[in-house]
Amino acid sequence: MPPLPSGSAPAIALHDVSKRYGRRWALARLTYALPAGRSLLLTGHNGSGKTTLLRLIATALGPTAGRVEVLGRDAVKDRDSVRRDVALLSHASFLYEDLTAQQNLMVLGRLLGVDAPQDVADALLNRVGLNRRTDSPVRGFSAGMRKRLAIARLLMKAPALALLDEPFGELDPQGIQDMEGVIAELKAGGTTVVLATHLIEQGLSLCEERLHLQDGRAVVA
């Protein structure tokens, strides 16, 4: 599947999008378009709706109202197609505690129909610097190692759109540097990146566009 054709449909288009959790509006009537080929920095305080927005774009959630378009496709109607091209690095790692690093990656590889999933998994573990922990169960991993494995999981999908929720959190300075390298590499490979982070400096150096959220609404930065 080729990456998005740049210059045509926006990578992400939000039309009057709202999302409610029980009694609370997490996003309120958000309208925004991210031009194709540009990367987005998402800022805002805790609870401002960043994570909800990323989960909506990733189709982990459905909007309460409004329409989300990802890579020119409707995030509700063409959900499976969107899911194939989008990868989410979330607060929750999506990692099975009782499986090893390699097994975790291989499960995803098999679900995606990747050829030779074990070789791909080993290459990715090498890439994120976990090659010595290939056969260790995730339960013994530190927070930083989990983050590294989660990014390997994201790379396994080779997504056209990568959604990164606080990718620098829980990483040491070396880890932050490595993560910046991975993001730069993703962008060089033609992947659109959406980055939600508190580290605005790092974010601004990596992204061309910026969207600031406050109480679930867009604020001009």
């Binding site: 709202s18 029980g22 509006w25 309120a28 009537r29 679930g216 609404r217 604020v219 001009v220």
Partner: protein
């Protein structure tokens, strides 16, 4: 409509139930075998019928909700399950009271009774689930799934219990209905139907108001009122 629900429906309910029960207690003859005790039938049987009807409404509301989401069908599902559970429980209690002098026991494991007991437990579970899920959308979807699965189970339970019992001995419950008993039964049944509708309408309104309150709090931002919306955005910008 509002006036009818407030005054007409309660009056109609009282009149029909009063007439039906007066006919049943004073006008109809006592049962030849069971004697005066049998007169509880005019309460018990209508209660059971209406419980069944409420459960059927619940099933239809659940299916409708899964096909087309709306708070109205969800509220209807909640109302029908709760009222149905009330009527079913009362029906079961009156049945036990009837059963003691007639069969000599409060309870027997006959298919009808057993199935109903299982049904009541299922709907208790359904209502507990509704209490334990805060997110109104998830609550509506999950409880609809549980309602459908529970309703599908009912015929299976009935058949399996009948087989299970038939391997021991058949418990026959004589249901010989004298023509003079038909009229009071029919009038009480319509009275009970009016009571069911009355309860359902009120419970439905409460449920719908609760849903509305859950999904639209004062600080809820996306409002359809443009004036409110403008004031909100100006505060932030």
């Amino acid at each position: 409509m509002n006036k009818f629900v407030k005054f007409g429906l309660p009056a109609l309910t009282l009149a029909l139930l009063g007439a039906g029960w007066w006919l049943g207690l004073a006008w109809a003859p006592p049962d030849r075998e069971m004697g005066e005790v049998q007169r509880i039938m005019y309460v018990h049987v209508p209660l059971q019928w209406m419980a069944m009807m409420a459960m059927f409404i619940n099933f239809v509301a659940a299916v409708t909700y899964l096909m087309r989401q709306s708070w109205k069908t969800d509220a209807m599902a909640e109302a029908s399950a709760e009222v149905g559970l009330l009527f079913g429980t009362l029906g079961m209690i009156t049945g036990s009271i009837w059963g003691r002098p007639t069969w000599g026991v409060y309870w027997s494991w006959d298919p009808r009774l057993t199935s109903e007991a299982i049904l009541l437990v299922s709907y208790t579970g359904y209502l507990v689930l509704r209490r334990f899920v805060e997110d109104p959308e998830k609550r509506a979807v999950w409880s609809a799934v549980v309602a459908i699965i529970g309703a599908i189970n009912l015929p299976i339970v009935w058949f399996s219990v009948r087989w299970w019992r038939s391997l021991h001995q058949v418990q026959s419950s004589p249901k010989t209905v004298d023509p003079q008993m038909v009229l009071p039964l029919r009038v009480s049944a319509f009275g009970m139907l009016a009571l069911l509708i009355l309860f359902m309408v009120h419970r439905y309104r409460i449920a719908l108001a609760e849903r509305k309150a859950e999904v639209a709090l004062p600080e809820a931002l996306p409002t359809d009122d443009p004036a409110l919306r403008a004031s909100h955005s100006s505060k932030v910008a």
